[in-house]
Symmetry: D4
Subunit: 246 residues, 8 copies
């Protein structure tokens, strides 16, 4: 609407208006069209999914993003790429457990409550850590408890009270993914379930936990892709975000 107003006011020609609309929001690196759009929304990080990109490509995108003042997150990355990114800025940090690079430029808290992240087994930790890092970089208080699988349900009941204090809970689990349903049944807040590829044989790369979570009898469970810790942390942050009106 604003753009058309400017055109009417003669401040810009229609051609300029259209050009603005088209050119502003991204920068064309040839192999990538870097979106600077999100930077306009406070508290949203710029995110690069590293697999399939060469280290030099990641570095070039990071360089372009650093012109904004928002936080930057590189997921599924490695030490080699980090070493290259590190040369761009001292703020870059490598998170081994989460396999991610972060560059924090904005430390404001944007979240209202607490995001609680649990995972079923030790092997699920990388995915849970990715979710936690994402939620933290988006300005949230995050709590985590790992290895609370349903085979020893007392370990889960032990943190039940803490879970009920959270405004949203992320459940990370492979194998049969039952943890999502059990946690969902205990709570009345949204539960974001992340199936993982942990398992063997008929887990079929995470299919077993994915299907289990999609078919959860707990009505408050929603699901993201297998191993998608980032997505879970991202949506948890959106849910936990302070209301404009509040």
């Amino acid at each position: 609407m604003e753009l058309l107003e400017k055109v009417r006011a003669g401040k810009i020609t229609p051609e300029q208006g259209l050009d603005k609309l088209k050119n502003l929001p991204f920068e064309d690196l040839g192999f990538a069209r870097v979106d600077h759009h999100r930077a306009l929304r406070q508290g949203f990080p710029e995110v690069i999914f590293a697999p399939g990109k060469k280290p030099e490509q990641v570095v070039a995108i990071v360089k372009s993003l650093l012109r904004q003042k928002s936080n930057v997150l590189v997921t599924r990355s490695n030490q080699e790429t980090f070493d290259k990114v590190r040369k761009l800025t001292k703020k870059a940090q490598f998170h081994d457990a989460a396999r991610a690079i972060s560059i924090v430029q904005d430390t404001k808290v944007y979240g209202d409550g607490t995001i609680y992240i649990v995972c079923a087994g030790t092997s699920d930790i990388p995915v849970a850590e990715e979710a936690a890092l994402t939620a933290r970089i988006m300005g949230n208080r995050v709590e985590t408890t790992f290895d609370v699988g349903v085979a020893g349900i007392h370990r889960l009941l032990n943190i039940r009270e803490a879970l009920t204090q959270a405004s949203v809970v992320v459940v990370v689990a492979g194998m049969e993914g039952a943890l999502a349903s059990v946690v969902g049944g205990l709570l009345s807040v949204p539960v974001i379930a992340v199936p993982t590829s942990i398992g063997y044989g008929s887990s079929f790369g995470g299919l077993s936990s994915l299907l289990a979570m999609l078919n959860s009898c707990s009505s408050n469970v929603v699901v993201v892709n297998i191993d998608n810790g980032f997505g879970a942390g991202y949506v948890a942050s959106l849910i936990n975000r302070k209301r404009k009106n509040a």
Copy 2:
């Protein structure tokens, strides 16, 4: 904790304490153990998933639930069951498009903002209506627009501004499910994607849209089971719920 306190205070014996803990929250109908637990949480409806239950069983469960003062929702039901439920209470209503029975006893608004529900095609409407009814019965303002598939993207762009006002958006789509990604890309609030079984051939009963939604490149998309309009409306309501602290 309260229970143990009462035991210590000698108000109830330990045996009574344990009995209370076990017996209070549900009523055993033999074929069903009706949960009265949720009634304690304001604004949560009692929900019966009708398939696989005989009309008499649905009626018996409804009867048990009516002792609470919360709203009741029977999903995937039909006229025959409704006729029987109607005899229990005049408040019962049948929602043809949503294939659901509602009994409204609590009309308070529990939601902060608006829940916007869109669907891709005419055939997706029943699932979208189920989501809308669920959200309404849980005390939310709901807006809907149907038939905004991506093949004619101007129909979607037409409601873009309205969508950005919502606090959470539900996207219902079958076939290739691309609508979830496109809507997700336009917004910065959580998007709950509901794949539907609409399609033929290689849609494999909704598998195509389910996989598309799980693999969405829009980070704010979470997914529920195929055709699960109820679940989407339920979680949308939890996200939209007023904060205790706010």
Copy 3:
């Protein structure tokens, strides 16, 4: 070994010996070769899986089996077939919930302990009843509790003590099948998990619960085919059977 002994002793010719070995254990009805082998093992019922057999075929097999003194069980049957079987013997009973016909001729108790059968939802009851009927007809004490899904885990914890008394537990569940893992985690006896086809969308006819149960993190869980209540009741009976040595 016995047969060869008789041959050596000249009591029967080798030809007769071979004929005996081949012809004894079954009766050829043309469309079926009825096995009278099991009748030799006390407490084993003769079982007919009805689907794909015409009522007359079922009747003919029952007739052949009645020459033995063991119990007879017809699974996945219906009223029409029952009416025809009923004419053969007044002992025939139809079990509506279990969709089965039983003919009890041997009421001896063969089981040591108790077999406990639980199911997750009302819609799972037919499969659970089939398991219960099978276990009872094989001479076991059977206890059942239905509708103890994990979304309201207090309903399950309510019967925990009773479950720990059982010598083997059968868990029947559709959707995400999480109940098997949770029950398995609470107990130290074998748990036989029966996935059911209850569910919709991505449950893919029971695949979701089947995979969940196969991938259970509780080590004491074994699995039978989707909806195979009979198989679960059968193996539970074998496990519960009195030891020869004891």
Copy 4:
């Protein structure tokens, strides 16, 4: 019940009671919450599934478990991890064929009868050995015969007599998994079938034998996950365990 009694008797405060319930059964190592719960049940080993855990993590868990006096089993492990575990205790042994580490501290026999383990081919031996080791470490007499596939059925008939003496039989087979049905048909004890990933082409990583075993026409067959020798040995041990009452 005991806990509540103690509370009533004033021996412990309700707060202490709740704390006890929550804190006793596991030790929090950060990346793992080690369950000391099972140690209370005689004859149950502590088990660590090694994949996805770093050698140091395995060592830390073993160290925690050694405070109990039960046996310890590390499955799917390797020489590198063993070398580290070996430094904790001289009792540690590496079982090459079973790819497992055992630490035996309790050599009591808990089983009544014999567990017989057969496998179809030479390539199935590692899974069969894992089952055998698990059953032995849980205090059972175990017999094994390998390479008795149905293509040369005389090799199986050769051990038929020995099989009938077992109280429970474990059948390990890849490819078409027919061995489970054939063995099941010969016996009247429970048969635990372990599909393996041995095969190529349309075996699809063990799917062919998994489906075959789940669809076995022998009623005494139950199934565990593909390659899950441990699970089969574990449940076989539970079935073979001496009855309290006997």
Copy 5:
């Protein structure tokens, strides 16, 4: 080659030659291009697969085929179509168990040895009968034994001697399809395995037996499509056919 010779000899023009090559072998009915090609090969029936064709279409094709003197077989047909075909010729017969119509005009024996057809259960009989009818109509001696499933392997061993006399064996089985491997292991002639859709749950419409048969450890087993009794009978006939040279 012959055609080109005639062209060179001037007996037909090149145009005529090409026309002959193109037009001779089939008759165009609009909805079908009926192949009269096979009639030239002695002992080959004309076959119509009925599903998806209207009764009138089947009748029209039969009418066209009757101009040849070969046998005609209509598979997967029904009484309604038979009644219409019967009006064309009194030779038409309906085979209820095989769900097929046959018209026999050539009763010569083309097969050298015997084709033996076995099936695992009563429900597999229609597919086995289709195979038997196909083999008979193609001029073979056929023997059949039904209900010899591996759960009672003595029923199979009972006919072992007879099986070894056959020149080719067809094995029809649903569920886990183990019968193919066991029969294959007993014999040194080709075994044609027909998986059937008999089963439930994880048989997935015959997938379980199909995969089992494809992965058979018996090297003499080949496979046709699920429920394809016709194909098995057809290839068995080709294998059993008298050698030209012999």
Copy 6:
């Protein structure tokens, strides 16, 4: 661009401009947002996919579309719906073989060459007819030959010359879908392959032909959804369309 020009010229206000952009291209029927956008492109029909829509809904959409002067096509429809549509206009025709309703208002020829449509078997005809009707209603010359499956390849070679004259060929085939590869190999024009759900057993509802066509070794083959005759006819029309420049 035009719209912005009008705004600059003061002919319309920016608000009006935006409204125009949003409101013009479709009509909101509540359950459907009818697109009048395509009508602007000459020779493009308005298409309604009937499944999942009630007859009244189809009629309402047709009514809205008739305001345009383009042709209308209702696919996967039936006699009942046709009877209702017929009341709107005498131009409506029902095509039994194609299961479609057409309303022709524009008979101009838009295509350059000929579209040739072949199918493998009699049962594939409905899908082939849907493709042919679509191509005809979009203004193309269409030729068809049915029942040219590869098992009798001379039937195909018979029309080879005619095929080479087409500017684009549509191949419709179920079962193993080999026809697409064979036709593709004979020609140097684009071949649009339509897999059909014709088949049984391991055709898995058309999966076998779909995969075969996607994996075609003929480089000129592209694929549409199973049974999607409409889509094939539509794209064939686009390919055959007269070039603006020509």
Copy 7:
């Protein structure tokens, strides 16, 4: 037809005629039967799919092809093979991004309009480059824009005008493959969709985008195999080819 004419005219004997027909179109290298058939059609490249062929085999085929004057393309190749091919001809070029070797001997433009190739993400570039190279080597004007995924739909709208100028568009996308539907909805020319294996978890090696594209609600979308950039470029070239008549 020509051949038969020559026979009639006595210019060649029938034997020679048949020999010509059989021997001309390919050269037998033992491991490959190189087709020289396509060389007859102007503008068609000779293509070698490298995987599964040894470098020496690729070289031998290239050598055989170079006798023709058409362009040569080796797809899915590598530097090692290129080094060997380079020795045959200086014209050989290696295209790193497209993983292909080209040998250009014919630079004529055979295409009428422009082929536009877009891809959704940076990781999809190799497939898009393969399509572009194929189209270029077949004599077409090609434009490309990469990284225009639907999550930031403004990046796509930015090139909308350019897209509408193309005569055919290739869309390359992994993950949820929504780009094909969105682009399809914007245009009225054929869109060739190439699903890629880019993604993780439930993308199942490209299955998610493949199914999405096959189920596209945009009628102008056709699909090729996962990662088949070559096929897309090839068919795009056929569509863009100059009409004989025009």
Copy 8:
């Protein structure tokens, strides 16, 4: 029968009789039970499937087998194993293309006619060579032609005459597997189809060709497992074997 005769005649005791029956046919190596049963049937090779067996295990089995005078075949083997086998006997040969070791001790011809083996592409050659080697070692005349895929069908028609002379044909093809149907349609002898894992994307490891072959519209096609060249060569040999009666 013979054994029982000997028992009756008093030549051996029943115990000895039973022992003979059990012990004769195999030798127990611990990790393998080597079958010497087949050696009794002239012309049958001893076969070892190498994957999953250590080189030493293969050598030990070969050593045991060499006591028989039949040929030995080790499939899916490698140079390392060959070097060890070579030390046992100079007769050992390594077949690089077929990835197999052969030891020929019996060069008699057992086959009546010729076995013809064709494959679709260069990459399918290893599987085709395995089939050819198997057939040769079993005493058959074998002819092969490689790279006759249907995309250039003239290459196939070129060998049509030769194919019609064979008594059985083996067709090896990956990708869409159409070659089996086309070859099947040209011939009236049995065709054994071997799907291969050659392909990419939606070939899903050979699934596409497997399904295509199972769904072949040519009635004379039977199928073996993906890449199972050995099985195809083996059954082809059985079919080609000289008739006892002839």
